[in-house]
């Protein structure tokens, strides 16, 4: 043991002496270069093995390019990161060279410093290791995968049960059911249908009056009218906008670091999305605006030449907020962080690419960042070609901090005026603030004299001397004086601001005048909207291929492109812009490629998403992965038919809703027909044939999502504030850890408007599986946990809602609170048994309260509490939380 330790110590000494904690840099020394400083060392110590065509481990250390490229174990050097570079690792550990003379301490130091200086070359050779990437051939087999083929409308299949066919959807579904000896379930009741459709399209329950009107509407097209009415309702945009915001990864905070800075401007994009859904903006246009709105409407041309920007242009640049949803914590001081590009900036681009590819194409492009895709024919090169699309705007080497990356709603000429005027105002306000601090200094000095004069005369000079002396220069007596008198004579600024107004009325007067002037100046401010948008920067856009996805091991540069596997179907075309162009046109080229009517993925992915929210599960169960590792479609022909129909309808989302919702498939019952135990079920029982209901022999019972649940509670309680749009409703984190709407804010707005901070989501929503936005959410998880029960039963918000609900019921139907409450909560007439046990409960509960409440509580109070308890249980019941 002892000798072992001794041996180790010797080894340590050797390594330790190359240690890198060094002298403070005074003058910036010349940076080391490969040719001058490193090559001679490598030549002497390494080239014996690592050179030439048969270099050991494929590592050729004779050129800088060879060093950067590395060998079998990967890149030998990560630029500016010696501690994680293999070359340094092996040298530092004494593993290399294995034989012969080791590097001297000085030599080791030089290698390490050279790497940390950026692994530079004398000649200024580009930061690239050259291309050694094997050419990737996409074979025909891979290309033939179903989702890479353009969708085709198949002829509608013949079915037996023609009576059930309402829309083409039914023929496809029935066909597969009948092939399996099944058919559709009977149509759901009218009350069930109106509740289902209301939640699906608006995220809100129908009122009892809505239900009664629909149930008694005997017109043949009453159901179609219902769908039309709901699709025209403005709450539709809030509901479906929220679905899109999930896949876009929208939040109101910058994320990543603990600071999780709030983003005050992000909401404009949220409002854009809601408006777009309400307007039924064609989906191709919707995507084009979000990816390249600025290029689509030629923003820079209008900015330069128009007097003011039209709404259309402001809308288009607002849409690009989609590409700003990825977490981006960058601040101006980040440029000082070493390797900030690889640490902070590349992740934002990568997340943006993941958002775009999973939300619009259903491909897991992110898997091709470090290597060719494992399952799908996506070469790594494709990843960087697509990265190049976004490099016009997001440049890791020239990063704009997130809060500075914004456009305004003004044209150039307006901006000139606004900036000039605001600059003058700023200067004036600065001057006034200067006057204010001078005023304070003057009075501070006056006050010092006044207070000093109150001390015994013999002390005054000594104390004055002590106070004016710097803290670390004081002698012992002065320190004593300072301790005793400093707070009194020289209070800090905060204290001073309290004392001066009470002691010097003339101070208050002068200060008031100055403050008034500041207010006057502020009122002259040229106000305008700032928009969190994306836009290209001028100049060349180099996009390096990153070996193993590592920004510190760049290889050759790539040109913009899209998915190579789709080339035969939709080719990416990018006309190189003129040198003086203000934007590269890359994003527009990509958006046009993506929304080409023949694109195999875009339409399929979107109709699948719409289907998902009407049936609780997509035709493809993995909405973000239409590739080989995803689920195959349960109804492939239906998916394709819908996708083509979608494009042919002018990419009308509302058309797809109508097709789906008017189908018999959608209108089936959700409740199970069979009560037969599994063991006794017959062969023809759908439960045996298709227990997971993949074939859709019934609708699915679905739990309300977090937002729909909270909104429905407020709606039934009669307290929902339906105000549209605007800055997010602020939230507050309590000492208990609970996060609620902030005290001063309106707790009754719809959930889509509540501030969604990545680290501080509203407890009520998070508890019911509102996603944590790390990148985006393409499919929500659904949990059933006891914290949900606790939130429903005990949270302040629910108790308040139950009380409002009770107030409403008592006001509307004091004579039959039970029946009215059931109508409001469940949207159906109450059963006899139900009314009686609810009434019994209210009466008994009133009695219980009379025992527990203090003397003197009124009957009215007790009744209100009892009714509130009943209402509370209705809002917590499964019938409320689930839709049939």
């Amino acid at each position: 043991m002892f000798s072992m330790r001794y041996a180790l110590t010797c080894l340590f000494l050797l390594i330790g002496s190359t240690l890198s904690i060094g002298a403070e840099k005074k003058d910036e020394p010349a940076k080391l270069t490969f040719e001058q400083d490193v090559l001679p060392i490598l030549k002497a110590k390494c080239h014996k093995c690592h050179s030439g065509a048969k270099a050991k481990a494929g590592l050729d250390l004779t050129t800088r390019r060879g060093v950067l490229r590395g060998g079998q174990s990967g890149a030998a050097v990560r630029r500016a990161a010696a501690e994680s570079s293999l070359l340094w690792d092996r040298i530092a550990a004494g593993e290399m060279p294995p034989k012969g003379d080791s590097l001297t301490d000085k030599e080791k130091g030089l290698v390490r410093s050279w790497i940390n200086d950026g692994a530079l070359s004398e000649s200024g050779e580009a930061d690239s290791a050259g291309s050694e990437i094997a050419v990737y051939e996409i074979d025909d087999q891979a290309r033939k995968f179903w989702s890479f083929q353009p969708p085709q409308k198949a002829a509608l299949p013949e079915v037996n049960d023609v009576a059930r066919v309402r829309t083409p959807i039914d023929t496809f579904v029935l066909k597969q059911l009948e092939e399996n000896g099944l058919t559709l379930s009977p149509e759901a009741s009218r009350a069930t249908l109106i509740r289902r459709t209301h939640f699906d399209l608006l995220g809100l329950p129908p009122t009892p009056e809505d239900v009664q009107a629909f149930v008694s509407d005997k017109r043949v097209d009453s159901y179609d009218r219902l769908i039309d009415r709901l699709l025209a309702h403005p709450a539709y945009g809030e509901r479906w906008g929220r679905h899109w915001l999930d896949v876009a990864g929208y939040t109101d905070s910058a994320g990543i670091l603990f600071e999780d800075r709030a983003l005050p401007l992000a909401y404009r994009y949220r409002d854009y999305v809601i408006r777009a859904f309400n307007k039924n903006k064609p989906y191709d246009r919707f995507l084009q605006e979000q990816i390249a709105g600025d290029e689509l409407v030629d923003y820079w041309h209008h900015f330069d030449n128009d007097d003011s920007l039209s709404n259309e242009i402001v809308e288009a640049i607002t849409a690009t907020g989609y590409l700003r949803c990825a977490a981006d914590p960058s601040r101006p001081d980040f440029s000082k962080i070493k390797n900030a590009d690889s640490q902070y900036f590349y992740p934002t681009i990568n997340d943006t690419m993941q958002i775009v590819s999973t939300s619009t194409m259903g491909v897991t492009l992110q898997c091709a960042r470090c290597h060719d895709h494992m399952f799908d024919p996506i070469p790594q090169e494709d990843f960087y070609r697509i990265q190049s699309i976004f490099m016009g705007a997001y440049r890791p080497t020239n990063w704009i901090p997130q809060m500075e990356r914004r456009l305004t709603s003004l044209s150039k000429s307006q901006e000139v005026v606004a900036k000039q005027r605001n600059k003058e105002i700023d200067a004036k306000i600065k001057e006034l603030n200067g006057q204010i601090s001078k005023l304070r200094q003057d009075f501070k000095a006056r006050r010092f004299e006044v207070e000093l004069a109150k001390l015994p005369e013999e002390l005054r000079d000594g104390v004055r001397e002590a106070i004016v002396t710097a803290a670390d220069k004081r002698d012992e007596t002065q320190r004593q004086y300072a301790v005793k008198y400093e707070a009194l004579l020289q209070p800090d600024d905060k204290k001073l601001d309290e004392l001066l107004p009470s002691e010097f009325p003339e101070y208050v007067e002068s200060l008031g005048k100055l403050n008034e002037q500041i207010i006057t100046e502020r009122a002259r401010w040229y106000a305008y909207d700032e928009i969190r948008a994306i836009y290209d920067l001028p100049g060349e856009v180099p996009t390096p291929f990153l070996r193993r996805g590592d920004a510190l091991t760049p290889a050759h540069h790539v040109s913009p492109g899209a998915l190579t596997v789709l080339n035969a179907t939709v080719e990416f075309q990018w006309p190189r812009p003129a040198a003086e162009a203000k934007t590269s046109g890359r994003r527009l080229a990509f958006a046009r490629w993506l929304t080409d009517p023949g694109h195999p993925l875009a339409a399929r992915v979107m109709v699948n998403r719409i289907w998902l929210h009407h049936f609780g599960r997509g035709i493809v169960a993995t909405p973000d992965d239409f590739g080989n590792a995803g689920s195959p479609p349960s109804h492939p022909k239906l998916l394709d038919w819908l996708a083509v129909e979608f494009v042919e309808s002018g990419w009308s989302i509302k058309h797809v809703h109508r097709l789906i919702m008017t189908s018999s498939t959608y209108r089936q019952r959700a409740d199970l027909k069979s009560e037969t135990p599994i063991s006794e079920r017959k062969q023809t029982d759908p439960h045996s044939i298709d227990p997971d209901n993949r074939l859709l022999w019934r609708q699915r019972l679905r739990r309300l999502e977090a937002e729909a649940l909270r909104d429905a509670v407020l709606h039934v309680a009669g307290s929902l504030n339906t105000q549209f749009f605007g800055p997010p409703v602020p939230t507050h984190r309590w000492a208990t850890g609970e996060i609620t709407v902030a005290k001063e804010a309106d707790p009754y707005r719809r959930s889509v408007y509540i501030q969604n901070r990545r680290l501080y989501p509203l407890t009520m929503l998070r508890t019911f599986d509102q996603p944590t936005m790390e990148t985006n959410c393409t499919l929500r998880s659904q949990s059933t946990v006891s914290t949900q029960a606790l939130t429903l039963l005990n949270s302040g918000a629910m108790i308040k809602a139950a009380d409002s609900f009770a107030g409403r019921v008592l006001a509307e139907r004091d004579d039959n609170v039970a029946a009215r409450a059931v109508w409001l909560a469940f949207g159906r007439p109450p059963g006899q048994d139900e009314v009686s046990f609810l009434q019994e409960f209210v009466e008994a509960q009133q009695q219980r309260y009379s025992k527990t409440l203090e003397e003197g509580s009124s009957l009215v109070e007790r009744r209100r509490l009892a009714v509130a308890d009943m209402c509370h249980m209705l809002l917590s019941a499964n019938e409320f939380i689930y839709i049939d």
Partner: protein, 476 residues
């Protein structure tokens, strides 16, 4: 050892009764969580069979936010003291050029126990457990910023959004007490640690595996009880009404397991009110136990309470408990001596108390205790504000640092690996985070290569693409 979990076990663990029946029926329909990719369906925390016989049933992670100074606590460096105030031999610049001269440790190290493992004088109480502790002196990490290094330490990669190791444990093993969450975080009630709630995030694992933050004062979790309490009979009547409404609904939806599960979740919530409140009721502990954790002293009480709560939760079958401090107190950029001393004064006694208590109760063998931060601190002095001798700071240091493990299958009384003579770089038996993670999972009976979750087209695992190895030399 037989790890099969019978239906009867579950019934008894779930407290029997109706909830237990439902759980058992859910168990009968369990999808295999390790292969299913359908989001949301069928995930729960019912006990699951481990891959192999576990050495530990539970983990208590004592996370030391900010990065404790290894050369002042666990990794003595005589040569560093010799070169105190001097530039190191060699003359190569630090790659960040943030430190000026080498800074020796003013703290004395001593060998402890039969094994002679060395601890700093700042850890006199923990040092008494030298023979139970295995110190890893050769950790290194991949980032020098707090957040990224914290993500590395707890989620396996330096990027955000992945599940914490506690969530993986809950996913892989479930929990033995259905009345409490499987994974519980104990933050300081006065403030969250740096990176906040993400320290116990489930990432992309289903939300049921998310850590639940328990407060060590007041209500354990938000909404455990209403703000104005209800009388027992009022509460009971409400619950009965809800049961009636749900029964009526269920009759129309026979066979919908999801509805049964939700009904059960309400019953579990009611039991959780009792169990959670009970688990926090430290008054049930003896005065001697209070003293053991330092609850009789203002300095040690806050951290001691959380350590004691951790033991009570583990005792009740919770799988993974994390104990946090507020902010990042070990981040001693200035006044390293003072800051480190203060952190030790708060934690040394309670941590030692926890080890003693676990041992006395026979729980130490089955409970893994992990102590450590996201990185270490530089052997050099940081050149910020106060350059007066004795007031210097130390900067973040990812290249070499120490952590320790105890209990739960760990062979105590040993050190693993070494940094160089200045404590700068891990050089012997370099230990990557993935090795530590693989080891912790291994001790819990899980295999880091097969504990996977399908996410975005990939079978994700805690150790990602690392070639991780279980640190066999640390095991009993």
């Amino acid at each position: 050892m037989n790890n099969a979990i019978s239906r009867r076990d579950i019934l008894s663990r779930a407290g029997g009764g109706f909830g237990g029946m439902v759980l058992a029926s859910m168990l009968g329909n369990l999808v295999d969580t390790k292969t299913s990719s359908a989001a949301g369906a069928g995930y729960n925390v019912i006990p699951k069979r481990p891959d192999h016989a576990p050495r530990a049933n539970a983990v208590i992670q004592l996370f030391m936010h900010g990065g404790p100074s290894h050369v002042d606590l666990l990794d003595p460096k005589p040569l560093l003291n010799k070169y105190d105030g001097k530039t190191p031999p060699g003359g190569v610049n630090d790659d960040e050029a943030r430190t000026t001269y080498l800074l020796g440790s003013p703290f004395k190290f001593k060998k402890h126990g039969e094994s002679g493992v060395e601890f700093s004088e700042l850890l006199p109480n923990i040092a008494n457990h030298a023979d139970e502790i295995a110190v890893i002196r050769s950790m290194f990490t991949e980032h020098r910023n707090h957040e990224q290094a914290i993500w590395m330490a707890n989620t396996g990669l330096i990027r955000s959004g992945r599940p914490n190791i506690g969530a993986w444990a809950a996913y892989g093993l479930g929990t033995e007490n259905q009345n409490l969450p499987a994974y519980i975080a104990l933050p300081d009630p006065n403030g969250l640690p740096v990176d906040g709630i993400r320290n116990w995030s489930n990432g992309w694992l289903p939300p049921v595996y998310q850590g639940t933050a328990f407060r060590s004062e007041g209500l354990a979790v938000p909404n455990l009880t209403p703000e104005s309490p209800r009388s027992v009979e009022v509460e009971l009547a409400r619950n009965n009404l809800l049961a009636k409404l749900n029964d009526r609904h269920k009759v129309q939806h026979p066979g919908e397991l999801e509805l049964d599960a939700r009904i059960a979740s309400f019953e579990l919530a009611a039991r959780m009110q009792l169990t959670a409140t009970n688990s926090l009721d430290l008054a049930q502990e003896t005065a001697a136990t209070h003293r053991l954790y330092g609850l009789d002293n203002d300095k040690t009480r806050p951290y001691g309470r959380r350590c004691l709560m951790a033991r009570r939760l583990i005792e009740r079958g919770v799988r993974f408990v994390q104990v946090f401090m507020r902010g990042q107190p070990w981040d001693t950029h200035t006044e390293n001596v003072k800051g480190t001393r203060d952190c030790c004064a708060q934690t040394d006694l309670p941590v030692a108390g926890l080890l003693t208590d676990l041992r006395q109760r026979g729980l130490l063998d089955s409970t893994l205790v992990q102590w450590g931060g996201e990185f270490g601190r530089t052997p050099g002095a940081e050149q910020r504000s106060n350059k007066q001798k004795g007031h210097e700071g130390r900067d973040h240091h990812p290249y070499g640092f120490s952590i320790w493990l105890a209990g739960g299958g760990i062979q105590g009384g040993q050190t693993r690996g070494a940094t160089d003579e200045f404590g700068y770089r891990s050089v012997i038996d370099r230990t990557q985070t993935a090795d530590l993670h693989a080891t912790i999972l291994h001790l819990l009976g899980l295999d880091h290569e097969t504990l996977t979750y399908a996410h975005s087209g990939r079978d994700e695992r805690l150790t990602d693409v690392y070639e991780a190895k279980v640190l066999e030399s640390l095991l009993v």
